[in-house]
């Protein structure tokens, strides 16, 4: 039992096999010699003695083989032998091999890619951040709806939470970075001072933030920059620490460079810089929010102590929130704090992507199943072709177990190649998800780590068993007696084994039908979303903005500039109208929001009516094509010196004026009373699928914002308008940059990009599934036709017409398809509910989607069956019959 006896032996028998063989031979020769000597001594002649000695040993070769079997390493040798043999078999039919490996690569690759996305985007989204499995994100809630949290609340939480190891804040922001000639907007994070320590990331140059650097209004203009920014914009300058750089026109001292590969803690964006929360006002505006419990802006994460569950943490945090509610009723009434797992983090893209990934995991599993069925079928067909070989091997004494091992080894070879290819596919696709998002630089990296590789390996093993055992299942029925019966011709569809192949095809049709239904449901939903009435018109409207704050403009200067610019823009040839607005509908920026009061409207107790509004310039409604229903638009006269006015939407009238004409009535905005002067149609503000909501507009001049966007409606193409605009801006201020101009339609499209991604992915895999199922159907039909050449020949010899043969074969194929589709309809009715909230105004049982999937599936299978059927009609009766 001691390893020091055994190990050398095993190594010897594995690696010095020649030596072991020689020894074995010598040992037996010695025995034979002695036996011969003994027989000779008994009086035999040497010849006889030699034969008798061999006889008494019982066959030298057999004894040798028995001795070899005693070596445990023989298993490995046999496996290697199987592998070598498997390789030979695969090389002998390259077409089959390539097709099979390609199928497996697609199936395993699709799964590995989706796993790597789930891993890299949802489960461990933040490269280099330690112990992400214990991280959870935090948001505030107001009457169970998600909201931001305030800095004082978080500080209190951090102090009193016993189950939390650390709490840190990381709020996405952006800044204009001007280096040399080039101005660009980069994403960054406003973080608490403990940020880098809490996530376990240490700057490679300089330092992170120190305690206290997140306190004091604008007190610590310090910045840690990303490795990428350091390399690209600062040329990797090793002396960078301590130098200064303007971020949003405020001079910051660079104190650190984050390690390569660290992208911050926000799913969907790669962060380029980090500033302490004390600098919040510079990047987020709106006064000093650090002391204000009512100012909610923060996005926070908590690392739970080891062994603490999310539920336990939630209970403790809820208790703390209740206490805060009692202590600070003015700001905290009705507010709570909620814990979210990382993959549901509501303030980054994780929450939107989660349902897509749920669908994708199901879809890729279905594709894998289809692939298995397909490959199983291919192997099955081949195992028929190899029946001879198998029978011969059985006859020569190979045990059924040995044959099984051989078949499984071949399956393993195929799926190992498939898995290797699949991981390559996943590797190439790890950044591919971003490509599906329209016109938007997202950062969504897949990650191929041990867990992804492990899962892929597990899939590979399951596939091996699935595809290796199918032919083995067939070989089980292989009787030696069959050896003699060769090339048995089959009646169409009526022989053993055929049912198995047929059910594999039915399985493929069923699964791809389900995927097609899903894809067509999503496509319909996307079409509905895209054709939803926005309430404004996006055609030929472009927008952009200028970083006036970063360029050092104050309000009076900005007002002058805006006035001059809009005059010039209106004079640009082709411009129909132009206007400023602080926020873009369906854009990233948020609208202003205020508690409101309305004359004659009594709110229910415990409810403070609030509404969102947009600050817009004259001509806004004309530019965006929002119909004015009554009253008037804003004019240049509605400036800071005039009486304050507002324009409200239809939902607002319905809710607060009971549908009465509100013109001339009063509305309280941020504590001031303003007069309603107009009513406009409802439109979409945040998302395409939102319900109509109360909304109003105020003049930009009366509620001034220094950096509004400019919307331009024009007859000219984008490039012309952009060039003209830049010319006009430069004429006013040669140092001012203009951001990239984008069509309003693209802005709107971006807001539905998640739906688009879901459609693209499901359609892609649905198409793939359809292709695979068609190949499967084609394969089975071709094989059936080739096997029943005799029967077809006979039928034709007896006078069957071409069309009747065609009908016979086609109907057989379509029978399979129809069965598959019927099962598919039943399953799809159950499964499409999974698409749930990805569907917009489309029922998961939408008959149109089912009909479309039915049509596509039927067409594809007719196409797949037609070639074999046509070939069947070309059967030469004479040759087919003579072949027997």
């Amino acid at each position: 039992m001691r390893w020091h006896y055994k190990l050398p032996l095993r190594l010897r028998s594995l690696f010095r096999k020649d030596r072991a063989e020689l020894d074995l031979n010598d040992e037996l020769q010695f025995h034979l010699q002695n036996q011969i000597d003994e027989f000779v001594a008994q009086g035999m002649n040497p010849q006889e003695a030699r034969r008798a000695a061999r006889q008494s040993l019982g066959g030298v070769e057999q004894v040798k083989e028995e001795c070899r079997d005693m070596r445990p390493t023989n298993l490995i040798e046999k496996f290697l032998q199987d592998v070598r043999f498997g390789f030979r078999m695969l090389r002998r039919s390259p077409g089959f091999t390539v097709l099979t490996i390609l199928c497996l690569t697609l199936g395993i690759g699709a799964n590995a890619a989706v796993f790597s996305w789930v891993e890299g985007i949802l489960l461990r989204p933040y490269p280099l951040v330690s112990q992400q499995e214990r991280l959870v994100s935090l948001t505030g809630t107001v009457r169970d709806e998600k909201d931001e949290t305030s800095w004082p609340d978080l500080l209190d939480l951090q102090r009193s939470c016993t189950l939390c190891e650390t709490l840190f804040v990381s709020k996405i922001t952006g800044a204009t970075l001007n280096i040399g000639e080039r101005a660009q907007v980069i994403s960054g994070s406003i973080v608490s001072a403990n940020y880098f320590d809490a996530i376990g990331v240490h700057p490679i140059l300089g330092r992170g933030f120190e305690p206290g650097e997140d306190t004091g209004r604008n007190a610590h203009p310090l910045v840690v920059i990303s490795y990428h920014l350091w390399q690209t914009r600062f040329k990797g300058d090793p002396q960078i620490i301590g130098t200064t750089q303007r971020f949003d026109n405020v001079v910051h001292t660079i104190i650190g460079v984050a390690p390569q590969g660290f992208c911050g803690t926000f799913v969907g964006r790669s962060m380029e810089y980090w500033v302490p929360a004390s600098m919040l006002e510079v990047f987020d505006g709106g006064g000093d929010k650090l002391e204000d419990r009512g100012a909610r802006w923060a996005e926070a994460y908590v690392r739970l102590k080891p062994g603490v569950t999310r539920n336990q943490a939630q209970q403790e945090i809820s208790a703390i929130a209740t206490r805060l509610e009692a202590e600070y009723p003015a700001t905290n009434r009705g507010r709570g704090i909620k814990v979210w797992p990382l993959w549901q983090t509501p303030f980054n893209h994780a929450g939107h992507l989660l349902p897509i990934f749920e669908i994708m995991v199901v879809v890729t599993m279905l594709v894998l199943l289809i692939v298995c069925a397909n490959v199983g079928n291919l192997l099955l067909v081949r195992s028929f072709a190899r029946r001879h070989e198998m029978t011969v091997r059985l006859a020569l004494g190979a045990g059924p177990g040995r044959l099984l091992r051989q078949l499984v080894t071949e399956g393993l070879l195929l799926s190992a190649f498939g898995a290797a290819g699949g991981i390559l596919v996943a590797f190439w696709c790890r950044h591919a998800l971003v490509l599906l998002f329209p016109g938007d630089a997202m950062y969504l990296p897949g990650q191929i780590d041990g867990r992804v590789l492990g899962l892929s390996a597990a899939i590979c093993l399951v596939v091996t068993l699935a595809v290796g055992l199918v032919p083995a299942f067939q070989t089980r029925h292989l009787a030696l007696a069959d050896t003699l019966k060769t090339g048995v011709s089959t009646v169409l569809g009526a022989r053993g084994g055929a049912w198995f192949r047929s059910s594999l095809v039915i399985l493929q049709v069923t699964l791809s039908f389900i995927l097609l239904v899903g894809a067509s449901l999503l496509i319909q939903s996307l079409r509905k979303i895209r054709t939803t009435d926005l309430g404004f018109s996006t055609t030929r409207v472009f927008d952009t903005w200028m970083p006036l704050v970063a360029a050092g403009y104050d309000a009076p200067r900005a007002k002058t500039f805006q006035d001059e610019l809009i005059q010039r823009v209106r004079a640009i040839p082709g411009v129909e109208s132009a206007a400023y607005a602080r926020a873009v509908p369906l854009g990233y920026g948020s609208f202003s929001s205020t508690p409101i009061a309305v004359d004659g409207y009594e709110p229910p107790p415990n409810e403070q009516p609030t509404a969102e509004y947009n600050e817009v310039s004259p001509d806004y409604f004309a530019t965006l094509g929002i119909p004015l229903l009554s009253g008037r638009e804003f004019t240049r006269a509605d400036d800071e010196n005039a009486a304050r006015v507002a324009i409200v939407n239809q939902t607002m009238i319905a809710r607060y004026w009971r549908g009465q004409n509100p013109i001339g009535q009063r509305l309280q905005v941020k504590g001031d009373w303003v007069q309603v002067v107009g009513v406009v149609k409802d439109s979409k503000y945040h998302s395409m699928d939102e319900a109509p909501r109360p909304f109003f507009y105020v003049p930009l001049r009366q509620y001034f914002a220094i950096e509004p966007g400019i919307h331009i409606r024009t007859t000219q193409p984008l490039q012309t308008v952009q060039t003209a605009l830049i010319r006009e801006v430069r004429a006013l201020d040669p140092n001012l940059a203009v951001y990239e101009m984008i069509p309003l339609q693209e802005q709107v499209d971006r807001s539905t990009s998640h739906e688009l991604v879901a459609v693209a992915l499901v359609a892609l895999f649905g198409g793939l599934a359809l292709l695979l199922a068609s190949i499967g159907l084609y394969g089975v039909m071709s094989y059936t036709v080739s096997q029943s050449a005799r029967e077809l020949g006979l039928r034709m010899a007896l006078g069957a017409s071409t069309s009747s043969v065609l009908r016979l074969v086609l109907s057989r194929g379509l029978l399979l398809t129809t069965t598959g589709i019927i099962i598919g309809i039943a399953l799809a009715l159950l499964l499409t509910r999974l698409l749930g909230n990805l569907l917009y105004q489309v029922s998961p049982r939408d008959p149109l989607a089912f009909a479309a999937a039915f049509a596509v599936m039927t067409l594809a299978s007719v196409a797949a069956c037609f070639l074999p059927a046509w070939r069947a009609t070309r059967t030469d009766p004479v040759r087919a019959l003579r072949a027997e």
Binding site: L9, D26, E27, Q33, R71
Partner: protein, 110 residues
């Protein structure tokens, strides 16, 4: 001479180990020794001897080394390892218990 008795399954290992407990021996010698000692009653099927030796070697009960035989031929000698000796003692005790038990049963029925 009575017909040689077939070896009970598993007893071949025991016989080999017992033989090697006396002195290191090559395969041929082991076969001869078993035959002589058992007074020609037990005859080892020669074909079965070598696989058994190889198995015992793989299990670590015995190990092999090459040496010169009595008639100056190169021969593979097998030696009992300490583990093998321990195993032999256990098996011998086991065998004695078993055979005396069987003896009791047989005498009772006669």
């Amino acid at each position: 001479m009575a017909k040689p008795t077939d070896l009970v399954q598993g007893t071949l290992d025991l016989l080999i180990l017992r033989t090697l407990a006396l002195q290191p021996m090559h395969g041929w010698g082991i076969a001869q020794r078993i035959r002589q000692v058992s007074k020609e009653v037990l005859q080892v099927r020669q074909g079965a001897l070598y696989p058994a030796l190889h198995r015992l070697e793989q299990q670590g009960w015995i190990r092999a080394k090459w040496g010169e035989s009595e008639n100056n031929r190169r021969a593979k000698y097998y030696l009992l390892t300490p583990d093998g000796a321990k195993y032999l003692r256990q098996e011998q005790a086991q065998w004695k218990r078993l055979s005396s038990a069987i003896g009791l049963v047989l005498e009772m029925s006669s």
